[in-house]
């Protein structure tokens, strides 16, 4: 994916000139973006702003998967949709917006839910995955498949006045490789889901638009830098280098955004938390993992059951 053998067109030169002259991007970085394939899972509050900047930057192929349709109550934060497209599949609505912004990329719509049955086929077609979903069942599924098909994952979440973001499995390392220092997967960082009773969706708990917007734009930012600088190519295979520690990949940062309605931006608005590396005993990427693509397709693990462990009947 280094773009050799392809030149930029005049259209591309004009459209991308302002980011190509940024030190560190250049024609090389732009060609890497053009030759890259990004999958955005979820076309909601995270996926809309993320997709705008991914498309604007000129990523060559952009897949978007979501089974929902646009509702009026989405529009305060899902800025890639519109009032006239209420009732339309979110995937089609968002792609209509993105095509108007930048007609050059290839857009691939998947107007249905990601499932254990279709996940590997879809995810394996892309170079980098953005987790813009809204539920732990899908989050664990995405991460497991990313481990098995070796894809870097930029994951984010937001609810009410809090947002979180982290870069996982980057560069991707085969399952079971735990010697040395490798980047963790979602399960390494978040071993178990919260009990369902302690969870609420954005529909039930609410969400401030700029909170989820910040996280979505930040996801696009991380994706663009990974692809433009080839941070997802392991050092051995060329393109990266061994100073992974300085790149915040082996022990990635969990970014926390706390939006306080009663005070302006301040010292605690953003916190950068240091996560551990890949875990030897991780269910998905660890050395004795029994996780396989065939198993996932056949229903093992059972993601729904995993995320509905019994818990007290109260809600946070």
């Amino acid at each position: 994916a280094n773009g050799s053998g392809r030149r930029l067109t005049d259209d591309e030169f004009e459209r991308y000139s302002r980011q190509m002259i940024v030190p560190g991007m250049g024609k090389e970085g732009q060609l890497r973006l053009i030759n890259s394939r990004v999958l955005i899972i979820g076309a909601g509050g995270l996926g809309c702003p993320a997709a705008q900047y991914i498309a604007g930057a000129g990523v060559g192929t952009i897949g978007i998967i979501d089974g929902d349709v646009v509702e009026a109550s989405n529009l305060h934060r899902q800025v890639g949709h519109s009032t006239s497209r209420i009732g339309m599949k979110k995937v089609d609505s968002l792609i209509a917006h993105l095509k108007a912004l930048n007609p050059l990329p290839t857009y691939v719509p998947y107007p249905f839910r990601l499932t254990p049955q279709n996940a590997a086929d879809i995810i394996s077609k892309y170079d980098l995955i953005l987790d813009c979903t809204d539920n732990p069942v899908t989050r664990y599924l995405i991460s497991d498949v990313c481990v098995l098909v070796c894809k870097p994952l930029v994951t984010a979440a937001a609810i009410q006045k809090s947002g979180q973001l982290t870069v996982l499995n980057c560069p991707p390392t085969p399952q079971g490789l735990v010697d040395g220092k490798y980047a963790p997967c979602y399960r390494c960082c978040f071993r178990k889901p919260p009990p369902p009773s302690s969870m609420v969706s954005c529909g039930e708990a609410g969400i401030m638009g700029p909170v989820v917007g910040m996280m979505g734009v930040a996801q696009a930012g991380e994706a663009i830098k990974i692809l433009a600088s080839a941070l997802h190519i392991p050092a051995e295979a060329g393109g990266g280098d061994s100073s992974n520690t300085e790149r915040n990949l082996q022990q990635p940062t969990l970014l926390i955004y706390t939006y306080d309605l009663e005070s302006a931006v301040g010292p605690y608005t953003f916190r950068a938390l240091k996560m551990g590396g890949r875990k030897r005993n991780c269910f998905a990427c660890g050395e004795n993992s029994t996780l396989t693509l065939e198993g996932i397709k056949a229903g093992t693990p059972d993601y729904v059951q995993f995320c509905s462990a019994p818990a007290p009947a109260v809600s946070l």
Partner: protein, 110 residues
Amino acid sequence: MSGAAESATIPITVDFSGGLEMLFDNQRRHTVALPTVDPSGKPATVAFLIDYLCKNLMRDPRAELFVLDNHIRPGILVLINDADWELEGEEAYEIQPNDNILFVSTLHGG
């Protein structure tokens, strides 16, 4: 309260984020003077801190949103001075003066 040694304490800050602040007076940062030793006389660990917070700082009856079976509930990250507590020894980590302990519930909305 209830017989905790009143003598020496360790000054620390305890932060709650991602919604957990609702269980603690809706306040994101608490200054805590943690007893230096636990009731059995051992140095104060994160495990003791969690128990101490439930008994002394929690203003919400729903303790099960913070602890389950005497351990921090799944879906809550514990950060010791901004690093995942797994890098520091988890519950067994001995609290040091001026430590910052952050409890943050992981989010899933989007």
